[in-house]
Every structure is written in structure tokens, then in C-alpha cells.
């Protein structure tokens, strides 16, 4: 009798766990309208379907810190299980994430990190040094004899852009491979493509000997290509950096540009969903060396401070651009 009751109790518990409400995971990008973030959301959404997670993609449509803070606070009030966030500002976007963690919500950042104590894990698309090297390598591809180069970032506090710039500045001084390159300027365009056209034009005017414009921001690179086209400086000035293939395909085809790179945002989003779910389930701890299986995205290892690097960069040249359709 007692054993029967015990088995019944176990069955009830198992049944309730099995039919428990699905996990609710929210994804909050810097701003919702950018194709790059929408592709991440696509990946995260597909992963969520496989994992049985209820997925919501929400945020402001402008890259404004205040609006992101309010969006995050709304997510916290909705008692999410986990938040996947790309922070506009390393420190300014952090307070609501800290509040979330204090309420037991797991926080995973992707694409752009926030303060270390405000998140559990950071899905980094490429570790900062590899990305900086990739940018400088592309610059050398564009201009083999080196020359003046300029960077455009979103804001002075965009975590990944500034990290790339700082490491690139170091490499240019220390690594003999990049000795011929000289960084002359760093400008900002707030992830706004229209503004990036203006900023790139200004750069080319202020520095007539400029050879390459580099940016880690996906809205910026096509804008810079456009500015080069407008001023008629194809072949004299090049733009390179991180860009979605669909946005720069035309420039590779018409020969005005030579090289870009990116990681597939689909898999970045996919991976971050797996990481978030494992974090909620408690199966993944932020201990360096822990392994995480992200299904079709691959298997990854947790590094320092909860950073998980995706690391699979794709380089685009006129020869291979047609293979990619995102």
C-alpha cells in the first residue's frame, strides 16, 4: 500500500515535471530592425522550437540605451526564465540585467557583452583578437602595400567594436605583419547606415590619403561602400569589416571591394538559445572547461568569465560570395 502510494507520488511528480509549462526565454537585441539581429532571432527561434522553449523576440527599434533598459525591465516583470541580450552599452545596459539575475533569471549575452557581473554567459561570435586580426587581414587584402586606415564603431562604449579597435591598435604597433598599416581615425555612427555614409564621406575628405575604412558594425560597412561609390573613389579607398553578404554582394561583384567577413548570425542565435536553456536547467555552469552541446551549431567550451566563443568566421570574396544568401 505504502509502496503503491510512493510509486503514485513519483509518477505524479514526473508527470507534472513532464507537462510543466515550457521555459520562457526572451531575446533582446540592440535594436530589432537590423537584419543581422533578425537572423540571430531566426536561429534562436528554430532552436527554441526544437527544445520546446517559448521564445519571444522583443526590444526597441532604435539603438537607445534608455529604451533597452526599459525593454529589459519589462522582460524582468514578465518573469522570464532567461534573457538573451545584446547590450548597447557595456555598463549602462547592465543594471536591469543585474536585477534579473537577482530574481533568478538567467542572463546570456550575445554579440555584444555587458558587464561581467550582470550576465551568466557571453556567446561571443569571435574572440576579440581573432576578429581584430581578421579585420586587419582584410585591410591588407584590400591594400597590400598598407597605408592609412580608419575605424568606424557604433559608439565609444560598444563593447565588441571598441575591443576590436583597441586590439587592432595594439597589433598594428606590435605585430610586424601589420606594420604597414597606420590607424588615423576612429569615428562613430550609432549603428545608423545613413549616418555611416556621411561619416565615411567625412573621413575620406578629412584624410585624403586614406586607404581602408574598417568597421565591426554590420550597418556601417555597406554605408562606407556606398560613400566610396558616391565619391568615385573605387579602387583608391576600400571598405571592409563585418557585413552580411547580401548587403555587400553588389560591391564585390562590381569589383569595387575585395574582402569582408562575418560569422553566420543564425548559428550564433541558435547557440545562444541552447546555452540559455542549459543555464536555466542548471546543466551548464560557468566553470572554464565545461562543455556545451548546441545541437546543429556545434560543441563549444566555456572559457574565462563565462565566455563561449563561436569562432567560425566566413570570409567573402568575389569568388565565393554567391554561395551565401543571407
Amino acid at each position: 500500500m505504502k509502496r503503491g502510494l510512493a510509486i503514485l507520488a513519483v509518477l505524479v511528480v514526473v508527470a507534472s515535471v513532464a507537462t510543466a509549462a515550457p521555459l520562457r526565454i526572451f531575446m533582446n537585441p540592440k535594436f530589432t530592425g537590423l537584419s543581422y539581429f533578425q537572423r540571430c532571432a531566426l536561429g534562436a527561434g528554430d532552436a527554441a522550437k526544437l527544445l520546446g522553449v517559448q521564445f519571444t523576440y522583443t526590444g526597441s527599434e532604435q539603438p537607445d540605451v534608455q529604451l533597452q533598459v526599459q525593454a529589459l525591465e519589462n522582460i524582468v516583470s514578465q518573469k522570464a526564465d532567461a534573457i538573451i541580450c545584446s547590450a548597447i552599452d557595456l555598463n549602462a545596459s547592465a543594471p536591469p540585467l543585474r536585477t534579473a539575475r537577482s530574481k533568478g533569471i538567467k542572463v546570456v549575452t550575445y554579440d555584444a557583452d555587458s558587464a561581467v557581473d550582470s550576465r551568466d554567459f557571453f556567446c561571443n561570435q569571435m574572440d576579440y583578437e581573432s576578429a581584430a586580426r581578421a579585420e586587419l587581414d582584410c585591410a591588407l587584402l584590400d591594400s597590400p602595400e598598407g597605408g592609412e586606415i580608419a575605424f568606424i564603431a557604433a559608439t565609444p562604449t560598444s563593447p565588441n567594436h571598441m575591443a576590436h579597435f583597441n586590439i587592432a591598435s595594439q597589433l598594428v604597433k606590435t605585430d610586424p605583419k601589420y606594420k604597414s598599416l597606420k590607424i588615423v581615425a576612429l569615428q562613430f555612427d550609432n549603428d545608423d547606415e545613413a549616418q555611416s555614409v556621411q561619416v565615411a564621406t567625412n573621413l575620406m575628405q578629412a584624410f585624403p590619403k586614406l586607404k581602408v575604412i574598417i568597421s565591426s558594425a554590420t550597418p556601417t560597412v555597406p554605408g562606407a561602400c556606398r560613400a566610396i561609390e558616391e565619391l568615385g573613389k573605387q579602387g583608391q579607398v576600400f571598405a571592409t569589416g563585418v557585413a552580411l553578404p547580401s548587403t555587400i554582394k553588389q560591391y564585390l561583384k562590381d569589383g569595387s571591394q575585395k574582402a569582408f567577413f562575418i560569422w553566420d548570425p543564425y548559428w550564433l542565435g541558435y547557440m545562444s538559445m541552447y546555452v540559455a536553456k542549459d543555464a536555466v536547467d542548471g546543466t551548464l555552469k560557468a566553470v572554464p572547461g565545461s562543455k556545451v552541446d548546441c545541437g546543429k551549431a556545434g560543441q563549444f567550451v566555456v572559457g574565462k568569465d563565462g565566455e563561449i566563443v563561436y569562432g567560425k568566421a566566413l570570409f567573402f570574396t568575389p569568388e565565393n560570395i554567391d554561395q551565401y544568401n543571407f
Binding site: Q66, E73, D89, T157
Partner: protein, 350 residues
């Protein structure tokens, strides 16, 4: 202006007197409508999201009401006199980045607060000077100073985003009453509402503002210094911006040149929906308070339902336009000149 106040309702005489009660209700017709809409909005918000109706959530999200609400009260006073000030959010931004500089220099909090008060008063007094003394049209002039002060905010703060405030600076924006979830800044808002209520309805300063909004020429000829009163309302607005800035940095923990960039629409909507006539001379603090709560409720509900920002803005915009349209339709009887060009010719007419 009929001299009935809510307080009259509480007098035993009025309760029994149907005429007096009818008079009071007629006087408060607009506020009654807004109160009903507030209740409807709360009901709608509850249906939008199951997370809305919880005391914790409401108190947590009431923080979004405060810094905008205080500035809205200041703006209401300015609009009451028939003028406008679009630069209040920009003044707030200058104050937040100035607080950042003060924090970097490790100045004690009272010194920093005194500093931004002076800055805000100077900037708003400049606005007042342009509008009241030079008699320039308020709208385009404050549109210009809005841009100029925003530029100043960026020049001081750039877009770097300072986040290293020490905790004394952030106190007001983060403190709660004891261990309850009631934020201290909500009490500050309540205090400001009370102060502005008294100021607008029970002081000669408030009376003068009503009079100026109705007929500033008559007020001048009756010997009152209109320019001084108007500059006073502008400086009051500047004070609210400084207060809002202090609360802002506590609430968000950071300051940047683009702080408070999108709050102007909400502020003007709250003032206009609150029954304050855009040409001046009419309005009540109660109405402004109710419409502030109304817009906050809508925003809160929509935010919890993950409705996109542009849609929220669209709804607020529709509210703004229909609010004024409805107000125009219901006051058909009182014809008031819609456009009032400042009489530049006469030396004495204001």
C-alpha cells in the same frame, strides 16, 4: 474662471446642495472623463498581460513615471501662460552629464546638485528671456534651444555614457522606503504634484499665470509684470528638469548626451490630455496628474505585452491629436483666437 475647487465638495453645504454639486462636476468634466479613461486603460492593460496587475510590478514600473512626470508639471505651468518650452528634456540631459562630470571630480552631492540647479535655472531663464523679454515666438525659439542644449549635452558628455556614479548620487533614483518595494522617488513625485497643485490653484503666482494665459494685454495694463512671471514659469520648468536629472541618473545609473531624447511627445500629450489648453489660460493639476497616469498605464501594459515601440508611439500620437480635436469640438461656444501673433508694433502691448 469659476471659483469652485474639489475642496468645496467636501464642505457639508455642498454635499447637500445639488446646484453646487452640479457646478463642481461641470467644472471637473474633463478630469472625470480622463479618470474614466484611466480605469479603462488599467482594465485593458490587465487583459494585455497577466503580469500587469501586481503591486510589485506597478511600483517597479512607476519609476518610469517620475522624471517625466515632474517635467510635465513644469511644462504645464509654462503652457498655462500661453507659451511653450520644448527644451526641457535637453536641459535634463545637460544636467545629467554635468552630474557625471561632478561625479568624476568627486564633488560632494550637495555641491553637484547646487551646480546643476544653477545650470538649469540659467538655461531656462535664457529661454524665458528670449520669449518674454525679446518677445520671440516661443515654439520655434525653444525648438532651436532644444537643439542647442542637446548639442551642449553632447559636447559635455559626448556619447560615451558615464556609468561610474557613486552611490550617494544614485540614492534618490534607487532608494526604496524601508524594505518595501515603494520607491522613494514616487513619494517625490507625489510631493511635487502637491506643491504644483497649491502653486497653481492657491497662490497669486498661479492666478497670474491663468490671467496671462487668458489675456496678457489686460494683465500688463493692470500693472503686473508679465515678463517676470513668464520667466518665473520657465525657471520653474528648469528646476523640474534638474530634479528629473537627479532621479534619472539614479534610475538608469548612467548618463549620456542623448538622455531623455524621446520623452517630449509623452509630456506634451500628458499636458494637453490633462485639460490644459494649448493656448493657455485653462487647466488643472489634477487633470495633468490623471493623464500622466493614463499614459503610463497604457505604456506599462503595452510594454508587458511586448508591443513594439513605434506602435506605442502611434497610439500616444493618436491620443494627442484626438484629445485636442475633442477638446476643440466641445468648447465650440468659447471662440478663442487660435493663432496669436505677438503684437510687435506697439511699444507697450506685450
Amino acid at each position: 474662471m469659476k471659483d469652485t475647487f474639489v475642496g468645496d465638495l467636501l464642505k457639508p453645504k455642498a454635499l447637500g446642495n445639488p446646484t453646487a454639486m452640479r457646478q463642481t462636476f461641470a467644472e471637473y468634466r474633463w478630469e472625470f472623463v480622463i479618470a474614466v479613461m484611466l480605469v479603462l486603460a488599467a482594465v485593458w492593460a490587465t487583459t494585455l498581460s497577466p503580469y500587469y496587475l501586481s503591486l510589485d510590478q506597478l511600483l517597479f514600473s512607476s519609476r518610469n513615471l517620475v522624471f517625466t512626470g515632474i517635467m510635465t508639471l513644469g511644462l504645464a505651468f509654462i503652457i498655462l501662460t500661453g507659451e511653450m518650452d520644448l527644451s526641457l528634456p535637453s536641459i535634463l540631459a545637460v544636467c545629467t552629464v554635468s552630474l557625471a562630470k561632478a561625479s568624476q571630480a568627486n564633488l560632494p552631492l550637495p555641491v553637484a546638485l547646487a551646480g546643476i540647479t544653477v545650470i538649469a535655472l540659467m538655461m531656462s531663464a535664457f529661454n524665458g528671456f528670449l520669449v518674454a523679454k525679446l518677445r520671440l515666438p516661443a515654439l520655434p525659439v525653444t525648438l532651436g534651444t532644444m537643439g542647442a542644449y542637446r548639442g551642449v549635452a553632447f559636447i559635455i558628455g559626448s556619447n560615451v555614457g558615464y556609468t561610474g556614479f557613486n552611490n550617494t548620487y544614485k540614492w534618490l533614483g534607487t532608494a526604496t522606503v524601508g524594505t518595501s518595494p515603494l520607491p522613494v522617488m514616487l513619494l517625490v513625485l507625489v510631493g511635487c504634484v502637491a506643491i504644483f497643485w497649491v502653486l497653481m490653484h492657491y497662490t497669486t503666482f498661479g492666478r497670474r499665470c491663468f490671467a496671462i494665459g487668458n489675456n496678457s494685454a489686460a494683465v500688463t495694463y493692470s500693472g503686473i509684470n508679465v515678463a517676470r512671471t513668464k520667466i518665473g514659469t520657465y525657471m520653474l520648468g528648469g528646476l523640474t528638469a534638474a530634479m528629473g536629472a537627479w532621479i534619472f541618473i539614479g534610475q538608469f545609473g548612467s548618463s549620456r548626451g542623448d538622455n531623455a531624447n524621446g520623452v517630449l511627445l509623452g509630456m506634451i500629450t500628458a499636458v494637453v490630455l490633462g485639460g490644459v489648453d494649448i493656448n493657455g489660460g485653462r487647466g488643472k493639476v489634477l487633470g495633468v496628474l490623471l493623464s500622466m497616469l493614463f499614459i503610463w498605464t497604457l505604456r506599462n501594459g503595452m510594454g508587458l505585452a511586448n508591443i513594439a515601440g513605434p506602435i506605442e508611439q502611434l497610439i500616444i500620437g493618436v491620443l494627442l491629436v484626438t484629445g485636442v480635436l475633442v477638446s476643440n469640438l466641445t468648447t465650440r461656444g468659447n471662440w478663442r483666437p487660435r493663432t496669436r501673433k505677438k503684437v510687435i508694433a506697439g511699444p507697450s502691448a506685450p
